[in-house]
Amino acid sequence: MSNLTHLTIADALAGMEKGDFTARELTEAHVKAVEETRGLNAYIVETPEIALKQADASDKRRASGEAGVMEGIPIAMKDLFCTEGTQTTAASHILEGFVPTYESTVSGNLWNAGAVMLGKSNLDQFAMGSANITSHFGNVINPWQREGSSAELTPGGSSGGSAATVAARAAMAATGTDTGGSIRQPAAFSGIVGLKPTYGRCSRWGVIAFASSLDQAGPMTRSVRDAAIMLEAMAGYDAKDSTSVNLPVPRYQDALTGDIRGLKVGIPREYRIDGTPVEIEKAWEQGIEWLRAAGAEPVEISLPHTKYALPTYYIIAPAECSSNLARYDGVRYGQRVEGRSLDDMYENTRAAGFGDEVKRRILIGTYVLSAGYYDAYYNKARQVRTLIANDFKKAYESVDVILTPTAPSPAFGIGEKMDDPIAMYLNDVFTVPASLAGLPGISIPSGLSSEGTPLGLQLLGRAFDEETLLRVAGVMEQAAGFSALPQLIAGGK
């Protein structure tokens, strides 16, 4: 049973159903794998005791015929989801030691579906970052390395810990959250599948907020089918989240028919950006060919406001974050650094509690909402956001899905792009437009770069049409046949 950690969720569920192994055995193998891959720093807190307890309970449920959709599957929980009784930090110092008395809706849904928690995965602080280097608990290391080099690469971010542990075969899957690309970009950097559902599909209740109008939870897995299985467990209407949408949750796996004949695939002209590495362009062309070969029809489309997406995003997300993070004030929970006055205490607490990137975004956000600048920045950004959403609306009148690269580069080295926030923000150039429009997107590993590191392709879909998205993603996954393994992997390569 040495290969338990290499199974997909679908295979593991089948194996447990057949009685080949138990949830306890599967979990023990993963607990061991988590220990073996500690060097990746993928977890802020490991929870093996909880995992084993949950696994035993899972085996009992399965024995009594009450198996859930994710029954007995060990996963990592991004440390942005509040978990009852387990420290939840958003990778910040200001929340260090904070233990929620409540369980987020999405994590609760997963436990109800039978999933097992291996630990709380590391991330960029408050989900702000694209390289998982802003965590108070240290950066996460990508299990992938460049050919012939042992230089440490970033797993992407913000869901970097989730991506790394799934890629390293230490967790079968992980939750991520995506505000501007935080599921899709690390999935691409780490050679796994990452699905950002439509805004409103998964409840935000109990997820520490970064930018409320953009944040959306989603699955990070090693196969498209696994993403479908996990999304089914995560999604659903929640009366506690006013932006949650009351639509039935389908059995997403059923969408994986493998048949995409006649579907129209939009190829947005504006995503051909000067300076994009040739191999990214090539991977994109390859993806188009795979879909064409499967009977879909590629159609060139225009999303004319694409170039405004990044600046728009970097106004709206910081604006919302500047307000969302005001509650971390040292008064009621989390860190407090005393001062001579209330204002002093605020300043000391927040200066010590927040990292530089978080502070940068709070400052930007405060600025763009200020009297005298509001109309020029925040209000203008809201208007442009509507135009971007309209671009997609128009495009989906003639196409069913849109295909683009996920990120403008493969995983870069830790330390690169660190001194230039703008270069870092450019990582999100392909993922941010769909976030602003609230649309679903998925990143699928398509192959390896010339450096031997993974590349990802992104499919975007219509609102609440995750099924078509998964159907096309499944076909592309098949065509890509991505089977390469990272260098730093549980049990060794």
């Binding site: 209740w205 520490i208 506690k240 932006t243 919302e320 008064v331 209330l342």
Partner: protein
């Protein structure tokens, strides 16, 4: 008559606008399920949302929205079918989220009208600019510890209505009349209990002064004044302070001020330059609030008869003066009480009794209407006895006092005490005959032209009949007999 303040340079006019924060009557808070009752142990009515725990989200309370719509309809105001909740960002220890969820550019209620009832039955319309819904903050308690403050979050997240008047008020009296009328309407509607001493109604008072007919002056805003009397005091103080400054050649600074009830003065809190930049923006956790017209129509059907309509009806149906009607309708329960007393009886007599002896007795005993020892039916019974001449008005006062003491019905007391009025002509005639026979001197005097002596004869007759003789009949019979 307009209110003017005399300065060294002539007469000044005061321009006043009020922003009233009224706590919405609802079982739970604006965006959480926590309870709202007054007087609970500190921090015992606080949900995870109210404490702004990480990842918590607001969910709008439909009942509060209904109360807002009800209030808008009661203020004869425009109901905005789409409104937007925004975040008002500022840091304070009793504001857990670091922002207050409020409405800014798009409030739920637009322009409306409040009709003031002024002295002498006069009325005047004052414009309402808008009304919006917002969260209350918690309470900071600074006097329990030498160096630290305590925070009570029970009030955090409780729903408030902010009702903003146009700068249409011109005197402290009008401001008082406005607050009383607003409170009366809110109580009729059941949307706010109006208890200013419990903090469920507070006012921000905007005051400026100008020479009559000139442009509006620079205003100051005195925050959180919590009684009608204090509002009036703050206006008076603020107006005089501003006039003195202007007449001394200085400028009024647009600023926020605080009222000190112990001295009746206001002092500067922060100037415009120090004003917060609240960085309002639409709350991304909440969708725009879109009302269903059918739902609003349903609410409309539940709006009770309001003071202005009731007053008009009392004038028309009961023949009351505008002044009396205004007093009777100010309180919904008292108006209902009056109607029950007046039902099928002399409505004017009923009004006099309710407003005079009855309310007087209530005030004196410090009792509320529902704890009163005399019910509307009982008071009605008393008035019936006056109307059918069973007892005189004067006797009625004695009976009423006995009713108040014992809670017994009027007819029972009249019977027990033998207070029934003598309307039997022969009995009164017999008494008069005796008095005339025994007092020839007085009879002489009267007949000789001293007609004022009639009063003496009336007194003697009443005395002889134990005060029970019908005064009208006594008068008539005396005049007849003395003329013989």
């Amino acid at each position: 008559m307009s209110y003017r303040i005399k300065g060294n340079t002539g007469e000044w006019e005061v321009v006043i606008g009020l922003e009233v924060h009224a706590q919405v009557i609802s079982n739970s808070k604006l965006f959480s399920g926590a309870a709202t009752a007054f007087g609970a142990e500190p921090n015992h009515q606080v949900s995870l949302v109210d404490a702004a725990m990480p990842g918590m989200l607001p969910v709008l309370n439909k009942e509060v929205v209904a109360q807002g719509v009800r209030t808008g309809l009661g203020l004869r105001a425009k109901i905005n079918m789409k409104s937007v909740f925004e975040r008002k960002n500022y840091f304070y220890a009793d504001l857990p989220q670091g922002y207050q969820i409020s409405q800014f550019l798009e409030p739920i209620v637009g322009e409306g009208i409040i009709t003031l009832d002024l002295d002498g039955g006069e009325t005047r319309d004052v414009g309402i600019e808008r009304m919006h819904l917002e969260q209350d903050a918690g309470k900071s308690i600074h006097d329990q510890h030498p160096t630290q403050s305590y925070i009570d979050l029970n009030r955090s997240g409780v729903a408030l209505m902010e009702i903003v008047s146009r700068p249409d008020l011109r005197s402290p009296e009008e401001a008082g009349a406005y607050l009383r009328k607003l409170r009366s309407i809110l109580r009729y509607l059941g949307t706010c209990d109006g208890n200013m001493d419990e903090g469920s109604m507070r006012a921000d008072v905007n005051v400026s002064v100008r020479k009559p007919g000139e442009e509006l002056g620079t205003r100051t805003e005195t925050k959180n004044v919590n009684s009608i009397r204090f509002v009036q005091q703050s206006i008076e103080f603020e107006a005089k302070r501003q006039i003195k400054l202007i007449e001394d050649g200085e400028k009024i600074v647009q600023e926020t001020r605080l009222f000190d009830p112990s001295t009746g003065t206001t002092r500067s809190m922060r100037s415009k330059e120090e004003a917060h930049d609240y960085r309002y923006f639409p709350d991304p956790d909440l969708l725009p609030l879109v009302l269903d017209p059918a739902w609003v129509e349903e609410i409309k059907k539940t709006i009770p008869e309001l003071p202005d309509e009731k007053k008009a009806r009392f004038i028309k149906d009961f023949g009351l003066s505008a002044y009396d009607a205004g007093i009777l309708v100010a309180d919904r329960d008292r108006a209902a009480f009056y109607e029950a007393v007046a039902e099928g009886r002399d409505a004017k007599l009923a009004a006099n009794w309710v407003m005079g002896d009855y309310f007087g007795a209530l005030n004196k005993s410090g009792l509320s209407l529902d704890a009163s020892p005399v019910t509307a039916q009982q008071l009605g019974g008393l008035i019936g006895l006056i109307s059918d001449d069973t007892i005189s008005g004067r006797t009625a006062k004695e009976v009423f006092e006995a009713m108040w003491e014992s809670g017994k019905d009027a007819d029972v007391i009249v019977e027990e005490k033998g207070l029934k009025q003598i309307s039997d002509t022969s009995a009164i005639e017999a008494a008069i005959d005796e008095i005339i026979a025994n007092n020839p001197g007085q009879v002489e005097g009267y007949k000789g032209g001293n007609e004022r002596l009639i009063g003496w004869f009336v007194g003697q007759t009443m005395k002889a009949t134990g005060g029970k003789a019908n005064p009208g009949m006594v008068n008539a019979l005396l005049k007849k007999k003395l003329a013989e």
